[in-house]
């Protein structure tokens, strides 16, 4: 066999392996209903939050006294609230706020938590200090810590993000540290060290990729938790200040008129439930999908 033919054969073989991997991955994805439902649910909510407020000309804060507490109908599909504001538009704007807050909290606490977790796993002294701090913060029940921080900082959207980031960073740090501790015992990390790779390179180029999957799973649960927490804070009146629409705010306002106009709670409530449910399913699904020991979506 000539050299060329050998190369061609090898290329063909690697192509076949790649194709096989892709097929297996697709099969694993399709046999994972939690992942699919969660993904579809989130995509729909995010798209609705992005598109509907942008194309609609209705002002979410426009009050029409004559339209107070109209039940759902042709003109207002979700009905109106006690100020005559269109509930559909408010819930969609609320989706923007709630998803943005949840997303920002998830991103910030993932970045911070990853830095803390990865450095803690690598440097013994840092580990003792950082992990004790995380233990302490985890010991304070989450919503209570957020409520206290909001009391100190004052109600605003950025303070909600800040407070919830403080609450959720430690749990990300723990997950990342646990993953990184396993990864750094691997032979390839040893090899990189012998080759003279810098600590920075080892941490961010070699250890980080191996913790990404557990980080992603944890992040989707944090996203769900952050949405519930934001709603709770706003419901308590220490979250995002009115009249801005967030799901928590809309629900808080509906408390006063609940018996006359239950729809003011049903629709924003349903959106909270659907998004949290989707994110939790996404997390469950991702856990199975990213776990190499699980084949075809079912645990072996």
């Amino acid at each position: 066999m000539t050299e060329e033919k050998k190369q061609a054969a090898a290329k063909e073989q690697s192509q076949a392996i790649l194709e096989e991997q892709r097929r297996l991955r697709k099969e694993k994805f399709l046999s994972n209903p939690a992942l699919i439902i969660g993904l579809v649910g989130m995509v729909i909510i995010v798209l609705a939050a992005l598109i509907l407020p942008a194309v609609s000309s209705v002002d979410p804060n426009e009050m029409k006294v004559l339209d107070r507490l109209k039940p759902p109908g042709a003109e207002h599909i979700f009905g109106t609230d006690e100020f005559g504001r269109d509930l559909f538009i408010r819930v969609m704007h609320g989706a923007r706020v709630s998803i943005c807050v949840g997303g920002a909290v998830t991103i910030f606490s993932s970045i911070l938590g990853t830095m803390i977790g990865i450095y803690a796993s690598y440097f013994k002294i840092l580990d003792n200090i950082l992990m004790r701090i995380c233990d302490g913060l985890i010991a304070i029940p989450g919503v209570l810590l957020a409520v206290a921080l909001m009391a100190a900082l004052g109600a605003s959207i950025w303070n909600v993000i800040l407070a919830l980031t403080v609450v959720y960073t430690p749990s990300i740090a723990r997950v990342v540290r646990a993953g990184a501790l396993v990864a750094r015992e691997q032979v390839y990390v040893e090899a990189a060290k012998i080759q003279g790779a810098s600590d920075f390179r080892i941490l961010w180029k070699i250890i980080l990729p191996s913790v990404v999957s557990s980080l992603t799973v944890q992040a989707s649960f944090i996203f769900a938790q952050a949405i519930i927490s934001e709603a709770s804070l706003s419901f308590l009146g220490v979250g995002i200040p009115a009249p801005a629409a967030s799901w928590g705010n809309i629900l808080q306002a509906s408390k006063q008129v609940l018996s006359k106009a239950p729809w003011t709670a049903i629709f924003p409530g349903a959106f909270v439930i659907i998004s949290v449910l989707s994110l939790n399913l996404l997390g469950d699904g991702l856990r199975d999908f990213l776990d190499p020991r699980v084949k075809g979506g079912r645990k072996g």
Binding site: D135, G136, P141, V147, A151, L236, G237, P262, G269
Partner: protein, 316 residues
């Protein structure tokens, strides 16, 4: 056993130190600090400076922190700025309704979760299992206050079975006391019931296929005995851990539920304190609930050690 308990307690010291710093920081970071909270937003700069000087709020952070820590350890948690009583006595006064609520919610959660968890494990893979697991997914996704609002509307306003909101202390009769707590406790317990159901299910599944269960079955024991005595006993420690953790969530969840149902507990105390910027009360509540939470989890850990002797042997 004794050295295990001592070790667990000693290992808590750094955690509690961090908690104390965090709690102290809450007041320290407050814009304007405690002086603004005492004098109100309209106070002039001169007045603020004078009060800061008099109370020592302008000293270095560490000096203030250690002085504060010393006082807290001696049981002096400060005076409420509005309630005309000390923080500790305010917490004591408002704590009973919260405790009642949290205990009842925990009871509801267990009454639903343990049987359903065992059932789901036993019927693993069937429609019953699928239905139960799906409902736990919903249970986890529904915020307690939302459920509370609909319980209020349905059982309180429409059916009028139970009072819509309010609170009656235990001394006015047990049933009267419970009547007011049933709806808030139910709405508070849902998330925990869902979590404990899932935990029970997976813990029972983990032991259900072990050899000793097969032995128990082949001895001819009744299926019920196998499940409830043999399987549940070994699944108990992991369920116990979730129950311990859920207690902290219940107490904090109670903050939201109490505000909704107008129950004069720790939650209402906190929200009122926030609205009046009564910072020592906020600080005290956070510290108190955290200590309680840590205490409950310590107890669970120790119980764990008693229930499962392998824990102490396997020294970590």
């Amino acid at each position: 056993m004794f050295s295990y308990i001592i070790k667990r307690i000693v290992s808590l010291i750094p955690t509690l130190l961090v908690v104390s710093v965090a709690v102290f920081l809450i007041t320290y970071l407050m814009p304007g600090g405690p002086a603004t909270a005492m004098l109100g937003m309209e106070a002039t700069k001169e007045e603020l400076d004078a009060l800061n000087e008099a109370l020592g709020f302008n000293r270095p952070f560490l000096v203030q922190y250690f002085e504060w820590l010393g006082k807290m350890l001696k049981g002096d948690w400060g005076e409420s700025l509005f309630l005309q009583q000390s923080v500790l006595s305010a917490i004591g006064q408002y704590f009973l309704p919260t405790l009642s609520l949290a205990l009842l919610a925990e009871l509801f959660a267990l009454v639903f979760a343990i049987p359903f968890g065992i059932l789901a494990a036993y019927k693993r893979g069937t429609t019953v299992d699928l239905a139960l697991v799906t409902s736990t997914l919903f249970g986890i996704a529904v915020p307690g206050f939302l459920l509370g609002m609909f319980f209020m509307l349905f059982f309180g306003v429409k059916l009028q079975w139970l009072p819509v909101a309010g609170y009656v202390p235990l001394k006015d009769g047990l049933w009267n006391h419970l009547r007011y707590l049933i709806l808030p406790a139910l709405s508070l317990s849902t998330v925990q019931a869902a979590l404990i159901t899932r935990m029970t299910r997976s813990a029972v599944i983990d032991v259900l296929y072990l050899n000793y269960i097969r032995t128990a079955r082949s001895k001819g024991l009744k299926e019920r005995t196998v499940l409830l005595v043999h399987a549940l006993k070994n699944a108990a420690p992991s369920v116990l851990t979730v129950v311990g953790q859920s207690f902290g969530t219940l107490i904090t969840g109670a903050i939201v539920t109490e505000t909704l149902f107008n129950i004069p507990g720790i939650g209402l105390l906190t929200i009122n304190a926030i609205n009046r910027r009564d910072i020592y009360v906020i600080q005290g509540v956070v510290l108190f609930v955290t200590l309680l939470y840590v205490g409950v989890n310590l107890t669970v850990d120790i119980l764990y050690g008693i229930v499962d002797p392998r824990i102490q042997l396997g020294k970590k």
